[in-house]
């Protein structure tokens, strides 16, 4: 079977990843931006942590809880932006028509978006995590294997939202691109990033437990405060994430089909 007729081609996925790497490489503001926001977050929350260490007995029990929370939240945020902004690039450049007369399958584009999101998130948030070591003598890497579980789950949740946003913007045009920022921040208050879910009103706790992120941040606090790894929370997060990623991919692929019906691959824009 020749390369173009294969149902799945790592080379085509690689070609799309290469396209995003070329884009990054050719633009120093984009490279700087990858590090800038996570670095600013960690600098700000580092000082806040230092202040609370002296004034809050709760934070004093686990000095790194706020820094760990901000870094892990950024994993989800950057993971989502990595998917949706990379897709927007195709819309900005009116490139979708060329891409989809080539043998590239829509699900291969999805995998390429996930791959570039992983690369961008790892570089951006990883840089901020390294910065915290000399600045605040805090290393999130001391968390060990649980960190990998938290990172993976938050990244997958970010991908799910990224695919959902990309699908909606494909369907409703670039006028809806602000969803990339709106969607994830709507989830922040109920994710329990900086406080336990028990702080929320009862009815809101029910919603919060439907989010993989709530299970991850509770799990993070269990590790940092109680030195216990909660497998029940991890299992919940994984199961929910499976639903989320399948849902996000389904919305994207459904929107792609709708775009073919409505002729949007040739007429992308606002």
């Amino acid at each position: 079977m020749s390369e173009p007729t294969r149902m799945f081609s790592p080379r085509r996925i690689g070609a799309m990843v290469l396209r995003y790497v070329y884009l990054l490489r050719g633009s120093w503001p984009r490279i700087l931006e990858m590090f800038y926001w996570p670095a600013m977050q960690i600098i700000l929350w580092g000082f806040i942590s230092q202040f609370f260490m002296l004034h809050s007995s709760w934070v004093a029990q686990a000095s790194g809880v706020l820094l760990a929370a901000v870094l892990l939240w950024d994993v989800m945020f950057r993971g989502q932006l990595g998917v949706s902004l990379a897709f927007f690039e195709e819309m900005y450049s009116r490139n979708l028509g060329h891409l989809f007369v080539s043998p590239l399958r829509p699900y291969e584009l999805v995998l390429a978006l996930l791959a570039i999101s992983f690369i961008r998130t790892t570089i951006g948030v990883g840089g901020a995590a390294l910065l915290a070591i000399p600045l605040y003598h805090y290393s999130i890497f001391e968390m060990g294997l649980p960190l990998l579980a938290f990172f993976t789950n938050l990244l997958v949740m970010g991908w799910s939202i990224g695919l959902l946003v990309a699908g909606l913007v494909l369907r409703y045009g670039l006028g809806a691109e602000s969803l990339a920022w709106v969607a994830i921040f709507a989830l922040a208050p109920v994710s329990g990033i900086y406080y336990p879910i028990s702080v929320l009103p009862g009815w809101l706790q029910g919603i919060a437990w439907l989010l993989p992120s709530a299970h991850v941040f509770e799990g993070m606090r269990a590790v940092l405060f109680d030195h216990v790894f909660r497998f029940d929370l991890l299992t919940n997060a994984i199961v929910l994430n499976l639903v989320y990623i399948v849902g996000g991919a389904a919305v994207f692929l459904r929107s792609f089909h709708a775009a073919r019906v409505r002729g949007l691959l040739l007429r992308v824009g606002e």
């Binding site: 020749s2 390369e3 173009p4 007729t5 149902m7 081609s9 080379r11 085509r12 690689g14 070609a15 799309m16 290469l18 396209r19 070329y22 884009l23 050719g26 633009s27 690039e89 195709e90 450049s93 009116r94 490139n95 979708l96 028509g97 060329h98 891409l99 989809f100 007369v101 080539s102 043998p103 590239l104 399958r105 089909h257 073919r260 019906v261 409505r262 002729g263 691959l265 040739l266 007429r267």
Partner: protein, 253 residues
């Protein structure tokens, strides 16, 4: 007629109450250059988009190189390509980067060699490492054509291939397309508003108006049938609905 490379049957595209393409049927013989001619809104671009699967028809059948494009388009997409002013390439990538990405998407075996060959043939070398967005309209058109020829397509669809080009560049592109078609035996279907271009390149012309095929024939046959001096006059006669032929006549392939 030679074995058809493109077969279209009762192809229709509706957007709500608007009929963009109205039950068109035609065939394009393999190894020929044919044209879709018509004014703005005639349905040329919509038809081309449906041939490639970028747009799903409301009804009808499309076969390209013997494959059903509505169900098995991926079997032939690697043997086809497109150049159109309605789609673009990423502006911030250089010409070389853009072509490399597409060469890999099409699964080319010798990427560097093919890119060098096309660069020489289409005279891209001077701006090969410049961002695509910084190029002039003529340079962009040549790059788009290079992208369309990367995989040496058996079926090449061109939407206004020389739009916005100066006469010298446009003439060179036409010569190149003729040479490419002769040497490769490819089937080329182009949509154009440029009548002298169509007269020079095409052996067969499909005239469209308001989504329907109203006439078809070789440029010479159409000129003779309408009693006009040039294809442009035929075009105007049809566009203004004062041709000698019955308007909106559907032509069986």
């Amino acid at each position: 007629m030679k074995h058809p490379a493109i077969q279209v049957r009762n192809l229709t595209k509706r957007y709500g109450d608007v009929v963009a393409v109205d039950s068109v049927s035609f065939e394009v013989a393999a190894g020929t250059i044919s044209a879709l001619l018509g004014g703005n809104g005639a349905g040329k671009t919509t038809t081309i988009a449906m041939l490639l699967g970028l747009l799903l028809p409301t009804s009808g059948e499309i076969r390209v190189l013997g494959e059903d494009m509505l169900h098995h388009r991926y079997r032939v997409l690697g043997r086809m390509n497109l150049s159109s002013p309605y789609v673009d390439l990423p502006y911030r990538l250089t010409v070389w980067e853009n072509l490399s990405v597409y060469a890999n998407l099409y699964g080319l075996r010798h990427v560097r060699k093919r890119l060098q060959q096309l660069s020489q043939e289409l005279d891209l070398e001077a701006f090969l490492h410049r961002p695509y967005g910084t190029l002039s309209a003529g340079q962009k058109t040549r790059v788009a054509l290079a992208k369309a020829l990367l995989n040496e397509p058996e079926v090449l669809l061109l939407d206004e291939p020389t739009a916005s080009l100066d006469p010298d560049t446009a003439d060179r592109i036409r010569s190149y397309l003729l040479d490419y078609q002769k040497s490769s035996g490819a089937t080329v279907l182009l949509a154009s508003h440029n009548m002298p271009e169509v007269e020079r390149l095409c052996s067969d012309v499909i005239m469209m108006r308001t989504g329907a095929i109203v006439d078809r024939g070789s440029p010479r046959a159409l000129i003779a049938r309408y009693g006009r001096a040039t294809l442009e006059e035929v075009f105007l006669a049809i566009a203004r609905n004062n041709g000698q032929e019955e308007p909106r006549r559907r032509v069986a392939p």
